[in-house]
């Protein structure tokens, strides 16, 4: 009992970092929550743009603006060069249209007035470009063929409102599943950081020279102490895992308890066991309390940046992913991505899942054996 008591005492001292690493996870889960629509009908993406209109709001300009309102999200940005530049840089908008003075009159006169634009060159801005160009093209075609301006605008409108049918064949609720995938991916960072922090701190204290010597001469068998420490640490990490799973249910919803949720949960449980052994392994190299923070940052942040925890795997360069193969977090994230993108858990999918999980278990064994070897060497040295 004395071992568990001391464990809890030390754990109590660790509470601030534990809360911090968990808070980061929940914070990111919260950020991802904002877009929560489950419509299964096709909705056209609307690019975010800004319009700086120096013309009067009449004639073709008015009709053009109405069209833009319908097909894009026009963000309300002050007509201030600095604000506009910032909005484009930070991608609040992807595209800016500057309508020059006298645009409408000039256009209706049969001229070809110039529109200035600024774009980020990304997908949304490409779409915005098409939207703008299309209006001008159609307007030009009808120009001069109608009796009045009103008729011209009507004709343009009529043509532009011709839509093509779009059908979505996938019935999967991709958005929530993606969020759940991101959540579990991100949890890898929290698991690694907490495991290393807690286990290293506790073992550092228990193994510090004086305490260790007292334990060895004490009436309690030191092997028992070690076993109890293992149970306590594993138990603690299991509790953290359970809490994160419940948080997933609260933050992301029902889907956490669906088939997907179960697969995610099993995968993360296997990963947690791996981080526990990783924590034990790493703790042998801790020389001072300061080293613990350094190790967490290198191992935790390193795994997270390289394995697609912070930045989705699809965005990572090939070379980085190759290097990441040597890290357990890579296989954990790979499994999460596979679970998240699967519609039917067929034999093939399950086989891949099991293979990835086996790699994680392999790492667990390596860390476990490695820990024992180091312990043995240390004991001999003493």
């Amino acid at each position: 009992m004395i071992v568990y008591k001391t464990f809890l005492k030390v754990l109590n001292k660790c509470k601030f970092p534990i809360i911090l690493y968990s808070a980061i996870l929940l914070f990111f889960a919260g950020i991802n929550m904002s877009s929560n629509d489950n419509t299964m009908d096709f909705t056209a993406e609307k690019p975010n743009i800004a319009v700086i209109n120096n013309d009067k709001e009449e004639g073709i300009t008015k009709s053009f603006l109405e069209y833009l309102h319908e097909n894009t999200n026009i963000k309300d940005i002050k007509n201030d060069e600095q604000e506009i530049k910032d909005a484009l840089f930070y991608r609040e908008i992807q595209y800016i249209v500057y309508i020059p003075e006298g645009f409408s009159d000039s256009f209706l006169d049969g001229k070809n007035p110039q529109l200035e634009i600024k774009s980020t060159g990304e997908y949304q801005s490409e779409l915005a470009d098409m939207i703008v160009e299309r209006y001008i093209k159609v307007a030009k075609r009808y120009r001069g063929s109608t009796d009045s301006d009103e008729e011209l605008f009507e004709k343009i409108d009529e043509t532009l409102s011709k839509k093509a049918d779009v059908e979505i064949i996938s019935k999967m609720d991709t958005k929530t599943i993606t969020r759940l995938t991101r959540y579990f991916n991100f949890s890898a960072y929290s698991f690694i950081a907490i495991s290393i922090y807690v286990i290293s701190t506790i073992l550092f204290i228990f193994k510090s020279e004086k305490i260790n010597r007292r334990t060895i001469v004490g009436s309690i068998d030191y092997k028992k102490v070690n076993a109890k420490l293992l149970i306590a640490n594993s138990g603690f990490c299991f509790i953290i895992w359970a809490i994160y799973f419940i948080c997933a249910r609260i933050l992301i919803g029902e889907v956490a308890f669906s088939t997907y949720g179960i697969y995610f949960a099993i995968n993360s449980l296997i990963f947690v066991i791996c981080t526990v052994t990783l924590g034990f392994f790493v703790s042998h190299f801790v020389k001072s309390r300061n080293t613990i923070t350094a190790l967490i940052n290198i191992i935790g942040l390193g795994s997270s940046f390289l394995c697609g925890v912070f930045v989705p795997m699809e965005y990572l360069p090939e070379g980085v992913l190759k290097i990441a193969h040597v890290l357990p977090a890579y296989w954990f994230v790979k499994n999460n991505e596979l679970i998240g993108s699967t519609e039917v858990f067929s034999g093939d999918v399950i086989k891949s899942l099991v293979i990835n999980a086996a790699v994680i278990i392999g790492f667990t064994i390596v860390f476990f054996v490695g820990s024992n070897i180091v312990t043995k060497k240390k004991m001999k040295a003493e």
Binding site: F89, Y90, N112, Q114, I117, Y123, R141, A164, E314, Y315
Partner: protein
């Protein structure tokens, strides 16, 4: 005595492995991680041809306009290329979509066009848009025809050459007159690296803090001995912090060499202003470290903790953990970032990178100078008051 203390502080600081890790090595490691993780993000965002498929049914095969349009839009040599198209039958198209090799496919028939996708998104919208455009072009074909006929009918008045010319102008003049004025240097991921420089500048404060602790009688035995010596305290403090400043500048210089030289991150081309900003930024970090050590009476670890905590919080608001955070704060609670030294440094680099004028840059430099002056004032006031009756 000044040089003596400078030299030994320098030596002592360099021997402190933990300190050197956090101030010199950690920023480099982070830069490497950032580069590995973020280098591809922007490339992925850049528009590339979208993978689609067209079902080659009888209607499509017989419709030359449709075929030519799709081939033109998918032509690798066309600089306005939109699609990377595959021409397959219905079952193959469905399979490709299920395997996510394409974003969607189109089935054309006499009276409808069906687009099949597997999710909502920009690529899918672009596909829909282009198909609509093709349909709308058909819609306006008769208008063009009518216009051509009108011009053609007046051939007797205008002469055949003039008429032909008008027709050619009419057909050619179908494009929109749009001038692309986009700025260069739109890479928002560089902000991450700017925040890293800011972090390095401010982490330097820990060096200043440790150096000052050695001058304080209530913090260290060295401090007790130094307080007994007949040397002016100002000399001690200045030589000690100067040693810290030197290491800090080495750290920032290493980071610049590593990010610009090896990782090839684009910081813009205003080198002189960048160096000024790094010097001023590091000085702000140093004064912050000195002020915290001098004014707050607690253990050395707690002081370091305060400095790291404050720096990380500042970097968080300056966009280190997500670039949009900086924009959010700049827009909604600008006062936080106006007072935040991490953001002043980041914003300074941002303005050098993105803006043509230097107004914003000078604003940030002024802000950092004011911040340093306040920190220095706090440090001087608290350092000169210190007298110990007993320790």
């Amino acid at each position: 005595m000044f040089f003596h203390n400078f030299k030994y502080t320098l030596k002592a600081l360099l021997r402190n492995k933990g300190l050197i890790f956090w101030t010199l090595a950690f920023p480099l490691i982070m830069a490497l991680f950032f580069n590995m993780a973020f280098s591809n993000i922007e490339k992925q965002d850049k528009f590339k041809a979208i993978n689609v498929a067209v079902v080659t049914n009888e209607y499509y095969e017989n419709n030359t306009m449709l075929k030519e349009t799709f081939e033109l839009l998918s032509d690798e040599n066309n600089k306005d290329r939109v699609f990377d198209s595959k021409y397959v039958n219905q079952d193959e198209a469905k399979e490709l979509l299920e395997e996510e090799k394409i974003d969607g496919y189109v089935v054309f028939s006499e009276d409808s066009q069906q687009i099949i996708v597997n999710k909502n998104g920009v690529n899918q919208t672009i596909l829909k848009f282009v198909v609509e455009e093709i349909v709308q072009a058909e819609d306006t074909a008769d208008i063009i025809q009518e216009k051509v006929e009108n011009i053609f009918n007046s051939r007797e008045e205008n002469g055949i050459m003039e008429t032909l010319k008008s027709i050619i102008i009419l057909l050619q003049n179908n494009s929109a007159n749009i001038k692309d004025n986009s700025d260069a240097n739109l890479s928002y991921m560089t902000i991450e690296f700017f925040t890293l420089v800011a972090m390095t500048c401010l982490y330097g404060g820990i060096l200043g803090a440790v150096a000052i602790n050695w001058c304080l009688a209530n913090m260290s035995n060295v401090g007790k001995r130094l307080s007994m010596t007949p040397v002016s305290k100002l000399k001690m403090v200045i030589s000690g912090t100067l040693a810290g400043y030197l290491i800090q500048l080495v750290g920032v210089a290493l980071l610049f060499i590593f990010t610009i030289g090896i990782l090839k991150i684009d910081f813009g081309n205003k080198t002189f202003e960048m160096v000024v900003l790094a010097l001023v930024g590091s000085f702000a970090g140093l004064t912050m470290g000195v002020a915290v050590t001098a004014a707050i009476k607690t253990s050395e670890n707690a002081k370091t903790g305060i400095l790291i905590g404050f720096t990380m919080l500042g970097c968080f608001f300056a966009g280190m953990m997500g670039v949009s955070m900086k924009y959010l704060i700049d827009k909604s609670v600008p006062i936080i970032n106006k007072l935040n030294p991490a953001n002043m440094i980041t914003d300074g680099f941002y303005s050098l990178y993105y803006y043509d004028t230097l107004d914003r840059f000078y604003g940030n430099i002024c802000g950092l100078c004011i911040f340093s002056a306040i920190m220095l004032a706090i440090a001087i006031v608290s350092l000169r008051k210190q007298k110990y009756e007993s320790i």
